[in-house]
Every structure is written in structure tokens, then in C-alpha cells.
Symmetry: D2
Subunit: 383 residues, 4 copies
């Protein structure tokens, strides 16, 4: 059994909730869940116990109502019992056509943190899945700076995710263990301040930014080229979609956060910083959750020959991350049980665009997968 | 030092020869050679000592003349000293607009084999690189059947590659060790008859069919999907080119040979035989050596979502294999030195479309690369 | 009002029937019908009055039952009243996994023709839409040869479509006017024998081979390049699908018929025969009716620069032709009314891959469209 | 004979100059020049007589030196005799890594205009080809506003192109006729102020923004879809390149100019404003002048079927426009001879992204081409 709390009840979290319950009902297979039913903790053992949002039109509603906005099929009854609670806002929805409300509107951040911790105790949360809107952020680097910002109620310096992760650490300390899965670009697993805090607070951190879509595929294609010693001349990668995540990324500062997690693969994998243009490109409403990606790679092969690859695709954005969350919830619990506090590279390397800790590098995902299996204790698949 | 003999002085072998000599002259970097200069045997230590063909217009000419047909740049002087010898034909060029002549036109196959062995002794060949035109073939499975066919001069049953490999075994036995690198689809490393013969003759076999172009990339993309438990619905892969190899593959029986090595990846890597259409598709002269590939893959992700990937590319065909041969020549020598006779899966798994021995399976190339490094004794790159 | 008879109640004809009735019910807009509601005869005025097939499992069933195999939505009630009649077979389904039965199994061809004529009189058919399985055929060129083959019951020489077109002429002669729309590759509008027969029999012929998918798009892209005097070096065009039409095209002789109608655009539009590979490429069952197309075009621009275009797509095959049939049925009636017997180039040039008569050439469709409007009497759209 | 003056001796102008002289030398064919040698004025009759730039490193150099930066082949001797003169700058190169200098640094704009007019008289210029860096601009709409800005030396309000076009009008008035070909996005043919001025000054204006690359191709593809009444759901179009033009377009305001000319096709051709994302996307240096384009179009076909097209390409950017300029120079002379002062829609509709005058609309280029031929007096090609 894993007791899961959600932060950001949007597209990803809703598909996660629906898919999970449909699996329990036997309506759905395990496709899109990397480790399927191979883990000691079964998918059917995952239980969503609480959920947070700051969109006024969602707060207070049962999940069953919220997820309807993202799915036309039958909504599992089990989702009627979980209600969306009010979270911490801190500019998360700024510039978006959504009316927001956060706990910090009514109290200092420190008190808001205490309220979250107390609610999580009531709900007996074990793993917190963090999937709110992408933020513009500055890492803290030093734990003391983070603690100072909280103490001083510094709302300009802190993002919501940073406060949630801080609250998770307080909670873990009190209950003896918890996990915070950061599936968005904000540096948490990559911020030494948070990793240090996690270690001393019995918190497991996975992060940062769920690796779905073109980025991990690019990682593997670049690995493929590097292994043949083909010299990459340039990489252009576009992607455009029509969900709220893409709308949010039209904001320049949010876009920067995403660009930096996406681009980190190039030098890590090739060993040199091949010129590249990799960033969320635009918003086009009718595409909905099914983004269009296009990628161009040019490289030099033997005897100076110049080759070109183009990859295009139509990819459902949210299910890709939702499927990973089904693993991450269970892996979080496993890590707690093993008391591997701080952050866990073998998990991050496969599931995250920018795998923490800070100085860890990206490797081809195909390799990362085998390392993950080893960490989990599963037999190798191809190795 | 590795002393190399070539069979089939066509596009691939000519780019191999030119690139190799340009590297020696310092005109060219190591791009396209997977293991670059990491091996104990250096690229500069490879020496081409003999070459065979059955195209009348090539036999008797110095390499420097032949390679001109495939390269407009400066031709290294060193290629003036190697002359193309007459090989064994056996239908290799049937239906192609090329006048052919083979040793077997003048003598029984057994004698032709003896002549090859004697010439190889003179040249002190160590590694034979087999890159003639793709053949239509039937594997022997049992060594006795192979031996019977040779004894009975059964020209309908044997292909040129089978005879060359047989001769290589005779030669290896006599000189105490040699390697035969089969870079074309004919089953040699996948034919138990040849592997058994190799073991008892001090022959190293690498094979079959050099892994270049869309096939190994598909292997890695399928590995990528399989690791996320995405369910592949269908795979269509086209490729069209304008070199002689593509012209030869318009022949239905030759095409079958290629189709079978190309298709073997699907079930091996996915674990189920996803419906697929993977074969050399056509010949279009102006494309020259730069083939056009197009691939479509459709799969199911989490919550039943249906995704699509399309890969297209312009890829120089011959340099891709030529670069691999630069490694394979050196690895052949290393295997001889280690007395690893028979066939060597960790080498085949990375470099070959249909890695022998017969019951060995394809794995994602990104994994195969690390296994190869391990076999070679090199430190892991990403593992 | 137009009274329509269908030959070949497969995918295309079924989507035509469903779409038409859904439009009448107000369930569907006019998308995919080029002239929409601009014609004097309205879409709602089209009435399917009879249908023919030779698939034993379809003969005798009401359309409502047959179309279910191709459409999961609601089936309009109106389709319950039309029953599929037995047609002429003549090898149409050879090599396909379908049990066939034709009128000619029970009587000579001449009698079968008479039976069709008599049935059409009963049904008061005006326009016959010919969409059976693609045939391998030889044109007649001379009317006397055609008449001889019918008289001599020459079943090896004649294809089903040729017999249907012959019957249509007999019928038109007797009733004073009718139209035969040949949407498959068999030369009818391109066979002078049939055009001559049509002229003297009050028959309108439109043909040959409905222009849908990659071919008309290629025509326009080539027109675009030609108008900029870009010199096309090569064209490769692949398409693969999973419907019965693609299965039938895996048959070499049928494939040839299609290749020739598809390829005819290149020289017609460019003015020179640029090297090309354009043919139905393969069958892949899970693709269903949604084919995958891929096209590569290379050309020379100013100052010798070499450019490349790649087009890929997922296109629903049958709706594309079904939408054209909605126009063709009405245009057939208009041509009858105007007594334009023989064949009508301005219609063929837009709607057909190989527009008849025989010596007529392909032009960019964008131009053909304006000529069509002029012929119809509609105001120009862009001209 | 046409005497041509160039403004902006960059990539496009240099390929124009080289290609033109190579044609004169018989080194090059007419590929990429739409009307080839069909016009009464021959390509060989075009003579470059003067050139302007504001890049300090170009001013004062002979063309033969400048064009070397863009072409590795042999430089025609004839280019040694033309020297680059200093033009008007006005922020054109702001934010670019180029040191600039303009006539207005030394004198008021009015005087600079007079100097240009006097130099053009000396050079006996007939047609001015305007290809400087893309500008951020505001149209004048009313002639009096334009005249006021010049009089008041309003350097913030005016762009270089606006001043050049004003100078061209003064010049045309004095010499009795001249042409100004505006191949960049600044509204000149689309600005009623300039068209009015041109009419009263004997000036021919062609514009605005040369139609090359993905935009005119999109126009034809959209025309193709519209003619089949397919309903376009969304259009995403990316393009990225590595020349200075792409670098300049990373500037937000310049980008807007380009976006507006590129996007104007959608509503004009479809008849409704399908949601679209069409703009220059990014700069990636190693791509050089060979840009990568990617386009995704989704539409509804008959019976509600949803189709998708993807176009990708590698296209040489500058030769495409240079080839058009070879026509435009000659057409400019023809228009002067015919005294068609103001702007000429049948020319603009084919050659320009945003064809003037202001209220004129885009049509498919394939149609525009035939209208152009009609205007020129050439026989139709396909019509
Ligand atoms: N494939 C993927 O979809 C993918 C991959 C990697 C990362 N991500 C990240 O996952 C996140 C969620 O993506 P999505 O598509 O579900 O977006 P979404 O916009 O549909 O959902 C985000 C939800 O978070 C809520 N929210 C915003 N700020 C909040 C806060 N401070 N506290 C609580 N809730 C808050 C919003 O109201 C909304 O309901 C994004 O940051 C995205 O970058 C997604
Ligand atoms: N990327 C690649 O190019 C690639 C990848 C995998 C495998 N291969 C295989 O490599 C082989 C060579 O490809 P290529 O592009 O160089 O083709 P090619 O046609 O240019 O060269 C083949 C040469 O072999 C000669 N030949 C034919 N039969 C012979 C015989 N019996 N004995 C000696 N010489 C003979 C021919 O005359 C020709 O010179 C093909 O079988 C191809 O399938 C190539
Ligand atoms: N976009 C398109 O789908 C397209 C475009 C151009 C042409 N076409 C042509 O349209 C035809 C139909 O395509 P489809 O996808 O509907 O194929 P289909 O196989 O689904 O349908 C063909 C039908 O014709 C029947 N048939 C075969 N021989 C017959 C005969 N002699 N008499 C009467 N019926 C006969 C078959 O039993 C079947 O029901 C094909 O020839 C195809 O080449 C299709
Ligand atoms: N296919 C195409 O390349 C294409 C298509 C349509 C439009 N255009 C337009 O053509 C123009 C030129 O493109 P390019 O690729 O040659 O760019 P470029 O940057 O290579 O050349 C521009 C030249 O203009 C000069 N310049 C800048 N401001 C000037 C001024 N005020 N007066 C005189 N010279 C000035 C620059 O110094 C440079 O030499 C751009 O505005 C571009 O948007 C190009
Ligand atoms: Mg998302
Ligand atoms: Mg080859
Ligand atoms: Mg079809
Ligand atoms: Mg440009």
C-alpha cells in the first residue's frame, strides 16, 4: 500500500487518477507504466488520499468532478471521495486566465506550512506527487538561505514548489519518513539546499521534471550517435501543444525553466556542447493534449559524410507523465522503507529530465533503465 | 598491426580504403568509427593487403583506380600498390548490369578454395572483410552438409560467401588463426555449420550483416518504447537509395535475405511480434549513396492514449558500414589473439543486424555497446 | 434528384452511403465534398437506388448490414431498403481471402450484360459509381476489339469494369442517357474504345481512378516547383495502409495498374520525366483505413543550390474518395442533362488520377479546380 | 537592358549578383528563376550598377570582395567594378554584432535622400532591389504623415526602407520612371501612403516581402485543401536557420514584422482564420543558409475523418529569393515601360508574401502564376 497526495490537480494528475482507478477496476492494462506489475508494491496498492490546487474553480470539488474536464469516458466512482484542498499559490498562475487563491492569502507562509503538515498527518500521506504549473524559480543552493526565506515570509523569493518541498521535509521529520516526487522543472533534487534538508529530515526526493516526450527520446538518439562516434553538428527541437501546460510556457520566464531542464542532455550525453535549439516552442489550442514535436539532427559520419535525421510525432502529453507517476509513487515508498533519504540518482536518471543531485549527469535512458532495475532489485532486461 | 583482405571492392570497401588511408595521412578525424582510437590496436595499424572482386571491369586494377568511382576527392597514393584479384562468383551478380568472372569458371570449387588459401598465405592476411553483393542463400545448419556441397562442387547450393567463409576456415586451420567478418545478410555467424567449422579451425567469425542505417536506430527506439511499457501497434519502415546495393536488392530473392535480417529486431526487443513492414523498398538512381529512410511507429501509452512517431532521414549508406569495418578489422585481430574461435556475440550484438550465433537475440544497441566495451576491456561509457 | 447505382460495396462505397445519409439527417457537414452545396443539384438530392458486389458474404444483404463493417457509429435507417445484388466477377477477387460469385458463373457475359441493363431500368439508375477492387487490365483501344471480346464471351480478355462500362453504354443507349464514373485505375475514360462507344450510346464517362491522397497533392507540389523553374532531381513516394484495397494491391499486376495512374503526373506537370518511385508500397493491417504516406523530393534552386522536401501524413483513405463521389454523382447528372456524351476532361482533370481522354494530360489540381468551376458554371474561387 | 541598384549587400543580394554573372558566363542554367528566359528582357540584359550597405566592413569594398563571404566558388571578374556605397542606417542593425554607419550620421535625412537621388542619377539606375535587414516598422497610411516625418527628420518614426522608398519616388519623379522592389516585410506596397506617392511620382512598387520557403508552399497546400472543402483545424509552422537574417529575427520586434507577412495567407486562402502558429522560430548557427522547416496541418475530411499532413525540408534560403529577384528586376523595367505606376498586384501576388496593395488578398501561388503570365503577356502554362 502507498498513500499518495497530489499537488496540482490538472491534466497530468487527472489522467493519473483516472488511469489508476481504471486499472483497479480491470478496465485498463499496464501500458505506459515502465515497471508494470514487476514491483513488490502493486499498482492496485496505490491509493490517492488527498489533492491540492489553487484554481478557485477546483478547490472544494471532489476529484470525480475535476477529472471530467480532462476525460470523456466513464469516471470511476472511487474518485468521488477525495476533495481538492487549497494549496499555496505564490504567483503559480500569474498571467494565466485562471482565478487563483492560496493559503498564504490568509496566513504567513510558516503557518501555511504547518497547516499542510497537519493535513498530511490526518491523511497519512506517504508520497507527495508534485505536478503544479511550471514555475520561474531561483535555486537556494544553501539550506540556510532557504530557511531564512521561509522565516522572513519572503514571498518574492519562494515558489510554491519550494514551499511544498519544505513542508514535505517538516512532515517527514515528524512522521519518520516521506517522499516528494518533483515532476516539474523547479530545482529541488538539483538544489543542494533541499537535498541537505531532505537527508536530515527523513525525506526522499525524486526530481526534477518528469522525462516524457521528445527529451528522453533525444537522449537515446544522441546516445546512439555518440556510441558510433558520429559528430553532431546541430540539434533543433520544436514542440507545440494545446493544453494549459503549453499555455503557461508561453510565459518567457517559465519557458526558461523548461529550456534548461530540456537542454541539459546535450553536453551530458555527447561529451561536448553541440549547438542546439531545444525549448517549448508554442501554444496552439486545437492540438489539445496531443502535442506535435519536430526534431532535426545533423551529424558527421565516416569519411566526412554528412547525415541528417528528422523525427516528428504526435504524442499525448499528460498520459506519458501520468504513467511514470504510477511507478514513482511506488518507488518513493520503497525508498522510504529502505531509508534512502536525500535524492536517489538511479531513479532520477530514468524518470527525470534533469536528474538530481546537482552534479549528476544525464545518460541515455536505455542505460538508465537497467540501472534503475538494478537499484530496485529486478533482473536486467537486456543487460 | 592488422593485415586485412577485402572481398567485394564496391562502395563500402572503397570508402573503407579511402577513409583509412586519409586517416593515416592525417586528413581525416575518427568520426564514424565507434571505438575511435580507444583500442590497443590503432586505426593507423590497419593495412589492406589484398582485395577480391568478380566484376571484370575491376579485376586486375589497382585499388587507387577502383575507388575513384566512389569518391571525387584526392586518392591516397598508398592505394596504388594493391591490385584487385579474381574471386569466386557463383551467381553473385546475376541480373545486374555487370559482366562477371569467377575462379570457378576455370576450376572446381575445391581448387578455387585452395587457390584462395594459398594467395592469403602469400599476403599474410589476418582479417577478411566480406562485403560483396547481397546474396540469396540457404543456411547449411549441419557441417556435414556444407562439406558435402564443397566436395560435390554443388554450385547451385553454395553462395560465394559460403565458399569464402569455408576457405577462411581452411586458411585459419593452416596458419593457426584468422578472422572472417561477414557484413552481408548471408547466414554465417548464424549458421551452426559455419560456427562449428570455425571452432575446429581456429577461425573467428563476426556476423551477420553490418548494422547501419535505420535498423539499429529502430532497435534503440523500440528499446526506448519497451522500457516505458508502451505497446507498439505497428511499424512501417521504408528505405530507398541509388547505389548498386539498392539496385541489387530490387531482386526479390536478395531482398528476402535483407528483410529477414532487418526484421529480426522487432520480436527480440519488444518481446512480441508487433505487425511490421520492414524491408529495402526501392531503387532511385539520383539518390546515389545517400539513401532516404522513412519510418512510422504507432503505440499505446498510459490510459489507452495512442501516440505516433515518424522518423525520416538522409543517410550516407556506405560510410556508415565502412566506419564499422575500421573497428571490426581490429576486433578480429584481438579475438584471434585471445583465441576466441567460433563467433563472438558481444561483438556481433553491436555491429550486426542479425547477431550470431543462431539463437542469440537482438538487444538495444545502446546496451550492446556497453557489453562490447566490457568484452574489449574498455571502461564503461555510460553504465 | 440523381439516382445512383454503386458497383463494389466496399469501404469507399460504404463511407459514401453513410456520409450521404448522415448529411440528409443533418448529422454531418459538407467537409470533404469539394463543391459542397454550390451545385444546382443538392447533396440531399442524391439517392442510392441499387448496389452490386461479388463477395458472397455481401450479396443479398441490405446496405445497412454491409456498411456496419466499416463504421462504428449510428447507421442511418434509410440504408435498410437497398439490397446488394450480384454483379460480374471475372477474377476481381482472385488471390484475396474472399469467396466470390458472379453472374457469369450462371450465364454467358452477353446475357449478364442484358440482366444488368434490365435491372438498371427497373431501378431507373442515372449515374453508376464504379468502385470495385483494383483490376489488372489491358485497354481495348479499338471499339471493334471490345465488341468482339463481348460477343466471343472472352473472359480472359475482359475485366469486370470493362463489362460494367459496356453494359452502362447499352443501358444509356436504351434509356437515352446515363453516366459511368470510373473511380478505379482500369482505363475507361482513357480507352478510346470506350470513349467512342460512349459517344454513340449517350453515355457520359468520368475517369480514371479517383484522385485522393498523395497523388493530387504531389501534382500541386510539383506544379509549385515547376512554376519557380526548380529542377526536380528525384521523387520517392511511399504509402502503406491496412484496408482491403491495400491488401489487393500487394498483388503485383494490380499494383502495376495503380503505379501507372499515379506516375502519370510527373512528366505531365514538370515537362520532363524526373526519376521517380511512386507506387502503393505495402499492406500493414493495424493501420486500417488510415494510411501512412511519405514522400521525398529533391530539386535544384537558383545558383545550383540543392533543396529537399519531405511530406509525411496520416490520411483516411476511403472518406477522401467518398467525398469526391458526392460531387461526381451530381456532375454526372449535369453532364447527361447537357448531353455531353463521351468523356469530360474538365471534370476528370480535377477528380481523377489519370484524367481521360487518352491524350489528355495532368495539370496542377489547383488549376484544374478553376477549370472545373468554369465548366460547371460557378464563379471562380481564386482566379 | 535593365540597370539595377541593390540595397543591402548581404546573403540574398550576393547570391543574386553571383548567380547573375555566372549565367552571363554560361556557367549556370536558369533553375530557380520562375520565368527563365521567357521574358522579352533577357537575364543576360540585367546589369548591377550600384549597391548600398551600412555595415562598415562592407562600405567601400568592391562587390567581388563582399560576395566571397557567401560563396566558395569562383567569383566572376565583372563584380570587381561595382563598389558598395554607404546607405541610410536608422537602427537597421541595432542589437546585431555588426558595426554600422549611415549617411544620416553626417547629415539630415532630407539631404541624405538628395544624395541618394543624385547618385542614382549618375548610375542611371532603373530598378532598385531592396533587401536590407528586416525592420520593425509602423506604416504611414497617409502620405502627409510620411512627408511630415521626412521634413521633420523624424528618425524614430522612419525606417531605412521607408526612406529608401521615399527617395526612389523623388528619383522616379525627376527621371520620369523607376521601380522599387521591396523584398522585405516593411509595408511599402501595402502602405497606401507609398502607393499614392508612387502613382504621382512615376514609381513602380513591387512588394512586400519576397515569397520563398515555407510560406508560398503553405499557400498552395492550403489552396489544395480548401478546394476539397477540407476543414483545417490547425497549422503549426516552424523554421530555423543560421544566416544573419535568422539572427536578426531573434529580435522580437523584427520577428513580429515577419510573422504578420507570413500569417496573412491563412484567412485569405481558407476563407476563415484557422488557428495557426506561423513565425520564424529560431537561430542555429551551423545550419547556415540552409534552413530547416517543419509544418503540421490537421484537417477534417468527409464523414468527419481527421487527417494530418507534416512537411519538413532543408531549403537554401537566399538562392530562393535571389532567383525571384532575377525576374523582379526585369518585370520592374517592363512595368516602367508600360507606365503602370503605383503597385502591380499580378506581380505581387506571385512573388510576395504580403502582396500589395493593402486590401489585396493572398491566393494560391499556382493561380497567381497564371495571372502573372497573363499580365506579362505570356501564354498560360497550365490554364
Ligand atoms: N508530459 C507532461 O505532461 C509533463 C512532463 C514533464 C513535466 N510536466 C509538468 O507537470 C506539470 C503539470 O502539467 P499539466 O499538463 O498537468 O498542467 P495543468 O496546467 O493541466 O495542471 C496544473 C495544475 O496545477 C494547479 N496549480 C498551479 N499552481 C499550483 C499551486 N501552487 N499549488 C497547487 N496547484 C497548483 C493548476 O491550477 C492546475 O490544476 C507542469 O509543470 C509540467 O511542466 C508535465
Ligand atoms: N550501409 C551499408 O552500405 C551496408 C550495411 C549492411 C550491409 N551491407 C552489405 O554490404 C555489401 C556491399 O555493399 P556495397 O554498397 O559496397 O555494394 P556494391 O555493389 O557497391 O559492392 C559490392 C562489390 O562486391 C563485388 N562482388 C559481387 N559478388 C562478388 C563475389 N562473389 N566475390 C567478390 N566480389 C563480389 C561487386 O562486383 C562489387 O564490386 C552488400 O551486400 C550490402 O548488403 C551494406
Ligand atoms: N482513396 C481511395 O480509397 C481510393 C482512391 C482511388 C481509387 N480507389 C479505388 O476504389 C476501389 C475501392 O476501394 P475500397 O477501399 O472501397 O476497396 P474495398 O476492397 O473495400 O471494396 C471493393 C469492393 O468491391 C467488391 N468487388 C470486387 N470485385 C467486384 C466486382 N467485379 N463487381 C462488384 N463488386 C466487386 C469487393 O467485394 C468489395 O466489396 C479500389 O479499386 C481502389 O483502388 C480508392
Ligand atoms: N529567402 C530569403 O532569404 C528571404 C525571403 C524573403 C525576404 N527576405 C528578406 O531579405 C532581406 C535580406 O536577407 P539576407 O539573408 O540577405 O540578410 P543579410 O543579413 O545577409 O543581408 C542584409 C544586408 O543588408 C545590410 N543592411 C542592413 N541595414 C541596411 C540599411 N539600412 N541600408 C543598407 N543596407 C543595410 C546588412 O548590412 C546586410 O549586408 C531580409 O530582410 C529578409 O527578411 C529574405
Ligand atoms: Mg505537460
Ligand atoms: Mg549499402
Ligand atoms: Mg482505397
Ligand atoms: Mg533570408
Amino acid at each position: 500500500m502507498v498513500r499518495v497526495g497530489i499537488i496540482g490537480q490538472g491534466y497530468v494528475a487527472s489522467i493519473f487518477a483516472i488511469g489508476l482507478e481504471r486499472i483497479k477496476l480491470g478496465e485498463l492494462n499496464y501500458y505506459g507504466v515502465p515497471l508494470a506489475n514487476e514491483l513488490p508494491i502493486k499498482i492496485e496498492d496505490i491509493q490517492i488520499v488527498t489533492s491540492y490546487d489553487v484554481d478557485k474553480s477546483k478547490i472544494g470539488l471532489p476529484l470525480s468532478e475535476v477529472v471530467k474536464r480532462y476525460w470523456e469516458g466513464h469516471i470511476p466512482e472511487s474518485l468521488q471521495e477525495i476533495y481538492v484542498k487549497k494549496g499555496i499559490h505564490l504567483r503559480s498562475l500569474r498571467n494565466l486566465p485562471i482565478e487563483a487563491s492560496g493559503l498564504e492569502d490568509e496566513m504567513p507562509l510558516k503557518e501555511a506550512v504547518e497547516q499542510l503538515v497537519s493535513e498530511w498527518k490526518d491523511a497519512k500521506v506517504e508520497v507527495i506527487l508534485n505536478v503544479p504549473t511550471t514555475e520561474s524559480f531561483v535555486p537556494f543552493e544553501k539550506l540556510e538561505n532557504l530557511e531564512k526565506a521561509i522565516k522572513e515570509d519572503n514571498r518574492d523569493r519562494l515558489t510554491a514548489t519550494q514551499v511544498y518541498a519544505y513542508a514535505a521535509a517538516q512532515y517527514a521529520k515528524e512522521v519518520g519518513g516521506a517522499a516528494f516526487v518533483n515532476a516539474i522543472p523547479t530545482s529541488i533534487a538539483n538544489d543542494p539546499a533541499f537535498v541537505e534538508l531532505a537527508k536530515e529530515s527523513n525525506l526522499v526526493i525524486f526530481g526534477d521534471d518528469g522525462a516524457t516526450g521528445a527529451t528522453p527520446l533525444t537522449a537515446d538518439i544522441l546516445g546512439h550517435l555518440a556510441q558510433r562516434n558520429r559528430h553532431v553538428l546541430d540539434i533543433a527541437q520544436f514542440n507545440i501543444g494545446g493544453n494549459n501546460d503549453f499555455l503557461a510556457l508561453t510565459d518567457k520566464d517559465r519557458n526558461k525553466s523548461k529550456e534548461s531542464t530540456k537542454s541539459s542532455i546535450v553536453e551530458d550525453i555527447l561529451g561536448y556542447d553541440a549547438p542546439h535549439y531545444i525549448k517549448p516552442t508554442g501554444y496552439l489550442e486545437p492540438l489539445g493534449d496531443k502535442k506535435f514535436i519536430a526534431m532535426h539532427i545533423e551529424y558527421i559520419s565516416f569519411n566526412g559524410a554528412r547525415d541528417e535525421l528528422v523525427v516528428t510525432g504526435r504524442i499525448n502529453d499528460s498520459p506519458a507523465l501520468a504513467g511514470l507517476l504510477v511507478d514513482l509513487a511506488r518507488l518513493g515508498k520503497i525508498a522510504i522503507d529502505r531509508k534512502e533519504f536525500g535524492t536517489v540518482y538511479p531513479v532520477n536518471a530514468f524518470y527525470m529530465k534533469n536528474p538530481g543531485p546537482k552534479d549528476a549527469r544525464n545518460i541515455p535512458r536505455i542505460i538508465a533503465y537497467e540501472k534503475l532495475r538494478e537499484w530496485v532489485g529486478l533482473p536486467p532486461r537486456y543487460l
